[in-house]
């Protein structure tokens, strides 16, 4: 039901055509669209009701993300409504509650500044937060900060004396410089430099040196929702492709009559079905047994990455030349799939986590 509602809305308000228009106009964020999503309860999908949210849970967040993937809808849903909201939920003070309320209403947008190298690797964080008086000084750089250009606030992972600490600071704080990245998927991301940026104890989310208490659930929620988005993306690319097989004629017949193409399309459908099961399982585990959801999340992200890659490669190939043109939408799916593959851990990262849990 949620899926049907979301699909109905997104087909009208955020079809692929919309992404194309935004790209052509050089826009990376549609504040009015995000406000509409917030009004439907999507921004507050993981925000408790007492803080003004709809509190529908992780499985529901995955459903929304999956539908967004089908039409490549542009929104800060993953960064803000899933990752930041889940992080803030781990902290039970008034400031966090207020922040959650501002997320639910659509006012606040967040980005997670975590990557420093070319791969997702939180443990390798070097950005330094040096204790100074009652506060900290942040020095270092981040890259591939998704939604880092549009976000009002940043969650910054930094190295402190005895571990990692997560800071929640406004993106326009002095000495934070944001350099927008011109991403292949036409979505928002930035490289961000921190030069002696001042942070107070108030800016720490959770405890000093204990970032993972807050961040681990947030990352898992984000990875699952991203996997769901990529599965929606796979389904969207697949639907276009099967539609094309039924309509395109060569040698006097629809090309969907050729067994070589039928079997490839059927194989792709099988892969998408299997991945969909992994997504459902991840949502269920996050809702029912979040302490032990890591394996389910990594199965989902690994599978979603693999499946999306196959879906867009087959999508372009089975469309032939037209699939290579910018005028056709398939290229948008391919580029988003590549960005999604890298974000929050690539195939190898998650397969390693599965392997570790399964006796390798």
């Amino acid at each position: 039901m949620l899926a049907d509602m979301a699909r109905g809305f997104l087909d009208g308000a955020a079809p692929v055509k919309k992404l194309r228009e935004m790209r052509d106009a050089g826009e990376r964020h549609d504040a009015a669209l995000w406000k509409e999503m917030a009004d439907m309860g999507w921004a507050g999908v993981l925000v408790p009701e007492e803080a003004g949210g709809s509190d529908m849970g992780f499985a529901a967040a995955n459903v929304i993300a999956e539908e967004m993937g089908k039409t490549l809808a542009v929104s800060p849903f993953l960064s803000t409504a899933v990752i930041a909201a889940t992080a803030l939920r781990q902290v039970s003070d008034d400031r966090a509650k207020e922040a959650l309320g501002r997320i639910a209403s659509g006012e606040a947008t967040y980005a997670l500044a975590i990557d420093e190298g070319i791969k997702f690797d939180p443990d390798a964080t070097q950005l330094e937060a040096k204790a100074e008086g009652n506060g900290f000084r942040l020095n270092g750089r981040k890259q591939f900060v998704v939604d880092g250009g549009l976000a009002e606030r940043l969650l910054v992972l930094a190295r402190t004396d005895a571990g990692l600490t997560l800071f929640d600071i406004p993106a326009d704080r002095a000495s934070v410089s944001r350099d927008p990245s011109d991403m292949i998927d036409a979505r928002d991301a930035a490289r961000i430099t921190f030069e002696n940026v001042e942070a107070t104890g108030e800016d720490v989310l959770g405890q000093v040196d204990q970032a993972m208490t807050v961040l681990k659930p947030a990352l898992e929620a984000g990875q699952a929702a991203l996997a769901a988005e990529m599965t929606g993306l796979s389904a969207g690319a697949f639907d276009m492709t099967v539609g094309y097989l039924k309509e395109r004629k060569q040698f006097g017949v629809e090309i969907g009559r050729f067994q070589a193409l039928q079997h490839r399309a059927a194989h792709l459908w099988c892969e998408i079905e299997v991945t969909a099961s992994a997504i459902l399982n991840a949502g269920r585990m996050l809702d029912e047994d979040p302490e032990n959801a890591a394996l389910a999340v990594s199965i989902a992200k690994a599978r979603a990455t693999d499946t999306a890659k196959l879906a867009v490669i087959e999508g372009v190939q089975m469309h032939g030349g037209i699939g290579m043109t910018d005028a056709y939408d398939m290229g948008f799916y391919m580029k988003r799939a590549r960005v999604g593959a890298e974000w929050l851990g690539d195939y190898s990262y998650h397969a390693e986590r599965v392997a570790a849990a399964r006796g390798f």
């Binding site: 097989l245 017949v253 059927a266 006796g359 390798f360």
Partner: protein, 388 residues
Amino acid sequence: MSGESLEAFRADLRAWLEENCPQEMRDGLRTEEGICWGGKNWVFTSDAQRVWLERCAAKGYTVPRWPVEYGGAGLNRDQEKIFREEMDRINARSPLESFGIWMLGPALLHFGSHEQKLHYLPPIARGEIRWCQGYSEPGAGSDLANVQTKGEDKGDHWLLNGQKIWTSYADKADWIFALVRTDREAPKHKGISFLLCDMDQAGVETRPIKMISGISPFCETFFTDAVVPKDQIVGEENKGWDVAKYLLTHEREMISGGAGGLTGTGRALGAVLSETMEEMDAILRADAMRCEVNSLAIGLTLERYKDQSEAGQGAGDASAMLKYMGTELNKQRHELMMTAGGSDALEWNGPLGNRAADWLRTKANSIEGGTSEVMLSIVSRRVLGLPG
């Protein structure tokens, strides 16, 4: 059903298992040596195996989801999950496996008359009658509807003549369910009947076929004026193809998950490979990790389809997907196990037991019950609606 009553069910079941599952049956053995197939000629490997079967059969636990009146325990899906969990918890062997349970039972539950269900299902549940499947013929493999075994109408019975092939364990079975051409004039799908034939008669002969694995699980089965009384038909005359297809969806689900510990409850591949190779090389390790990710996801998919389906019903056309994905993966898994086994895996009954025979056996997984290519064609036509 409420969580509370489910937990009460679990507690009762746990106590029953503690009291009734013999210690020797708690070794989790799932290989051929550990399976109890039942049937008139079955020789129990131990007293414990016999006792375990009898106790489970008395409770309906050999077929937990079948209705009680037909020999089952009448469990719903949630209860069945708990049943499997509790069985796994004590590492219990399955009390009984058979083609009657996997294939004929579901088909009878769907198409059989009440009298047929009462007559045929309880002996399956108790392991008294062992069934085999008479589907393929030398000229009817992937083109299964081309079966030519003839059923001649003799008033109160049919007279069967013809040959079946790949009839698994026909040499050990008591009865055979067979696709028989009862109308030679009709189009090929519309002249087939689904008949139940007692093999204890002169007109039925079987001959085992030695396979590349060195063993002979498959047979040829010959009918020479074999007699099948008219009440031994499932569904209507000449409408056997509907029964055949329905049964195939169950066969495919069974092959997809049952063929080698594929599901999440099976042993982790990493642990299996580490037994023979302390440190896997980079390529083996990468291939194995991918295989493990896919195993877990396919296992979740099998569970998802079971959750969606009603008692005793199958996944329908999606069973083609389950079968294709499950069997192709199982072949990969065994390739990796051979690689990890190195030269130790190359001896019959060598240091790794029957690993090579198991590996060779898996090559049939993507052929039996419909080839991978037939599965893809089914998905293409029935699910995707691509032109045929």
